[in-house]
C-alpha cells in the first residue's frame, strides 16, 4: 500500500517535471497558427518561419554573436582568476570568491537596472559590446566554479613531481597543469554559452532593438503574440542546450575518471 503510494508519487512528479518539455516539442511541427493541441497536421512551416523571418533569424545570429563573445570573455577572465585563487597565495581569497560568485545571486532585475544606468553613462547601452559585457558578468561565476573544481582535482604532488624531474614552472603549467585543467575550462565555457543563450532580463534592460537575442525574441513573442514559432525556437534551444549539456557531462565524467587515475589504487 505504502509502496504503491510511493511509486505513484514518484511517477507523478517525474511527469510534472518532464511533461512541459515534451509537450512543447511536437508543436514546432504543427500546421496550425495556434500554439495548441490537437495538432491538425504536421508541417515545417514554423521551422521555416524561424529560419527565414527577419526578426527570428537576426535574433538567432545575435544570440550566437553575443554568446560567443560573452563565452570567450568570461572563459578567459574566469580561468585566469581561478588560477590566481588556486594556491591560496592571496589574502582574503574566500572574500574574492564570494564576490565573483555574487552575480549568480543578485536578482537579475536589480543588476539590470544598475547596468542600464551605468551603460548609458558609458555610451555602451544598446551596443553589442554592452550586451556582451553584461552577459559576461553572469557567465564568469559558472566558469570560475567549473575551472576551480578542475584545478582542485589536481593532486599538487603531480606538479611537484614534474618540477623535481626538471620542469621549470612554465613547463609544469604547460605540460601538466593546463592539460589537466582543460576539461574544466571547456565545461565552464559550455556553461557560459548556455547561460548567455538563455539570458533575458539583462538583455531587456541593456540591449537595443538591434541586439535582440533569441531568448529576448521568445520573451516578447510569448508576451505579445504567441505562435508556434516559439515552439520551433524552443526545439532549437532544447537541442542546443542538450548537446551542450551532454558535452559538459561527458567532460565531467572524463575528468572524474582522470581524478581517479591520480589516486593511488592499492591493487
Amino acid at each position: 500500500m505504502f509502496r504503491a503510494l510511493q511509486i505513484t508519487f514518484g511517477i507523478a512528479i517525474v511527469i510534472f517535471l518532464l511533461m512541459p518539455i515534451f509537450a512543447i516539442l511536437p508543436l514546432a511541427f504543427t500546421s496550425s497558427v495556434f500554439l495548441n493541441y490537437p495538432i491538425p497536421a504536421y508541417s515545417m512551416r514554423w521551422m521555416h518561419e524561424l529560419t527565414t523571418a527577419d526578426v527570428w533569424r537576426t535574433s538567432i545570429v545575435n544570440s550566437l554573436i553575443i554568446g560567443s563573445g560573452a563565452t570567450v570573455l568570461a572563459t578567459v577572465l574566469g580561468t585566469l582568476a581561478s588560477l590566481g585563487m588556486r594556491k591560496g597565495a592571496l589574502p582574503m581569497v574566500s572574500l574574492l570568491r564570494t564576490l565573483f560568485l555574487l552575480p549568480m545571486v543578485v536578482p537579475a532585475v536589480v543588476l539590470g537596472v544598475g547596468m542600464q544606468i551605468f551603460l548609458v553613462r558609458l555610451g555602451l547601452a544598446s551596443t553589442y559590446l554592452g550586451v556582451t559585457i553584461a552577459h559576461s558578468v553572469l557567465c564568469i561565476p559558472f566558469v570560475i566554479v567549473s575551472v576551480s573544481a578542475a584545478l582542485q582535482g589536481i593532486d599538487p604532488s603531480i606538479e611537484r613531481a614534474a618540477s623535481s624531474l626538471g620542469a621549470p614552472p612554465v613547463t609544469v603549467f604547460r605540460r601538466v597543469t593546463l592539460p589537466l585543467a582543460i576539461p574544466g575550462v571547456v565545461s565552464g565555457a559550455i556553461f557560459a554559452f548556455a547561460t548567455s543563450l538563455d539570458e533575458v532580463v539583462l538583455t531587456l534592460f541593456v540591449a537595443g532593438p538591434n541586439q535582440r537575442t533569441l531568448a529576448r525574441q521568445m520573451f516578447s513573442s510569448i508576451r505579445e503574440n504567441i505562435n508556434p514559432t516559439v515552439a520551433a525556437a524552443a526545439l532549437l534551444l532544447i537541442i542546443g542546450t542538450l548537446c551542450l549539456g551532454g558535452l559538459a557531462a561527458l567532460l565531467r565524467w572524463r575528468q572524474k575518471r582522470s581524478a581517479l587515475m591520480t589516486a593511488p589504487s592499492a591493487i
Binding site: D155, A161, L165, L180, S258, T262, S265
Partner: protein
C-alpha cells in the same frame, strides 16, 4: 671536504610552529639513509627541503660541496618518489618515464632507447602505452621509481613510497629497492614511519622526534643500543627499567631495581653512584631457566603467558617490579604462577640518556 649531502643547522618554521630545529645531518655518496619517526616529527619536511619544495628558515643545505638551498626543485637533479606516486594521469607510462629526459633535452632517439631500457629493468616494458590508471598499485609504484631513476639523478628521495601498498607487495618492493640501490650504487634518502621497513632497508637510520634527530646509526646499533628512551620505545619493544645506581666500577653499574632485586648493567660514561637512570632491556634478551655464568639472575613469578605463534610473550613479576620476556615457544612449559629465574647479560641492559 664536505659530505655528499649536508644539512648545516637547518631550521624550518611554519608561522610560529618550528617543525625542524637546528638540524645537522650528513649523508655520504651511495648511502641508503632512512628518516624514521612518527608523523609530525619533521622527517617529510626535511625531505621536502632537500627536494626544494620547502625553503629552510635558517641554515644551509649542501649537495656535492655546493650550496643548494636557494635552488628551485627543477635545478637540483634529484629524483623524487612520492607517497601516492604522482604519475601524470594524462600521459602514458612511456611518456611519464620520458618526461625527465625531455626536460634535459636528451635527443629524441636516445630518449626512446633509455625509456625502453629503464622499463625493461623493472620488467614493465609491455605496459608502456598504458595510462597510469590502468596499472595496479605495485606497477604504478615501479613506474614512479623508474621515472625518478631514468635521468640518473645524483640522489633519490622517497617519501613513504610503499605506504599505499599491501603488506606482501610492500615487502617485495622493499627488496627490489634495496637491490636497485646496491646494483646502481644510488644515494637514497628514504622517509618512513615504519620501523621494520627502515631496519631492513637502510645503511643508516636517523630517528626523528619533534624536529630533532634522536639518534643516527646503523640499524643494528639503533636496535641493540638505543640511546634515548624515545628510540628504545619507537623501535621494537623494550622493557624500560627505572633503577637506582648503587655503584659504578669499570663501566659496570650495579643497580638496585627495587623489591630487593639487583642487577648489573653496561654503563657509559657519566653515570655515578646514587643517581636514578632509565635502562632498556629487549624482551628477547631475557632467558628463562638456568642462568649462565656472569649474567644477571632475577627470581620472578610468571604472571601471564601469551601465545604469538612463533614465540611466547611471558609477563614476569616480582612484587611491583615487572618484565616482559619473549621466548621460543618450545623452550619450556610455563605455567602461570610458577617461579622462574630470568637472566640477561649486563651488556644487553643499556642506559638511556633521557
Amino acid at each position: 671536504m664536505r659530505p655528499f649531502i649536508q644539512f648545516e643547522s637547518v631550521s624550518k618554521a611554519f608561522g610560529s610552529v618550528t617543525v625542524v630545529n637546528a638540524l645537522d645531518l650528513a649523508i655520504e655518496k651511495g648511502e641508503f639513509v632512512s628518516l624514521l619517526g612518527p608523523s609530525g616529527s619533521g622527517k617529510t619536511t626535511i625531505l621536502m627541503m632537500l627536494a626544494g619544495f620547502e625553503r629552510p628558515t635558517q641554515g644551509a643545505i649542501y649537495l656535492d660541496g655546493k650550496r643548494i638551498d636557494h635552488l628551485p626543485p627543477y635545478r637540483r637533479q634529484m629524483g623524487v618518489v612520492f607517497q601516492n606516486y604522482a604519475l601524470f594521469p594524462h600521459m602514458s607510462v612511456a611518456e611519464n618515464v620520458a618526461f625527465p629526459l625531455e626536460m634535459q633535452r636528451v635527443p629524441r632517439a636516445e630518449i626512446a632507447e633509455r625509456v625502453e631500457r629503464a622499463l625493461d629493468m623493472v620488467k614493465l616494458k609491455h605496459l608502456k602505452d598504458r595510462r597510469p590508471s590502468q596499472l595496479s598499485g605495485g606497477q604504478q609504484q615501479r613506474i614512479a621509481l623508474t621515472r625518478a631513476l631514468v635521468f640518473e639523478p645524483s640522489v633519490i628521495l622517497m617519501d613513504e613510497p610503499l605506504g599505499a601498498l599491501d603488506k606482501q607487495l610492500r615487502e617485495h618492493m622493499q627488496l627490489e629497492i634495496r637491490e636497485l640501490h646496491k646494483r646502481l650504487g644510488l644515494t637514497i634518502v628514504f622517509v618512513t614511519h615504519d620501523q621494520s621497513e627502515a631496519l631492513t632497508m637502510s645503511d643508516r637510520i636517523a630517528v626523528f622526534n619533534a624536529g630533532r634527530i634522536e639518534q643516527i646509526d646503523d640499524p643494528q646499533v639503533i636496535y641493540d643500543t638505543p640511546r634515548t628512551r624515545f628510540v628504545a620505545e619507537f623501535i621494537g619493544e623494550t622493557n624500560l627499567i627505572e633503577a637506582k645506581v648503587a655503584s659504578v666500577d669499570n663501566h659496570v653499574a650495579h643497580l638496585s631495581l627495587g623489591a630487593g632485586l639487583s642487577a648489573r648493567a653496561h654503563a657509559g660514561n657519566g653515570l655515578s653512584a646514587g643517581q636514578t637512570a632509565s635502562f632498556s632491556l629487549r624482551p628477547e634478551r631475557i632467558r628463562l631457566g638456568a642462568a649462565p655464568e656472569g649474567s644477571n639472575a632475577l627470581d620472578m613469578t610468571i604472571a601471564d603467558c601469551i601465545y604469538h605463534g612463533d614465540h611466547m610473550r611471558v609477563q614476569l613479576t616480582h612484587d611491583d617490579f615487572s618484565l616482559v620476556a619473549r621466548c621460543e615457544r618450545l623452550a619450556g612449559n610455563w605455567t602461570i604462577g610458577a617461579s622462574v629465574v630470568a637472566s640477561f647479560d649486563p651488556s644487553d641492559c643499556t642506559v638511556l640518556t633521557q
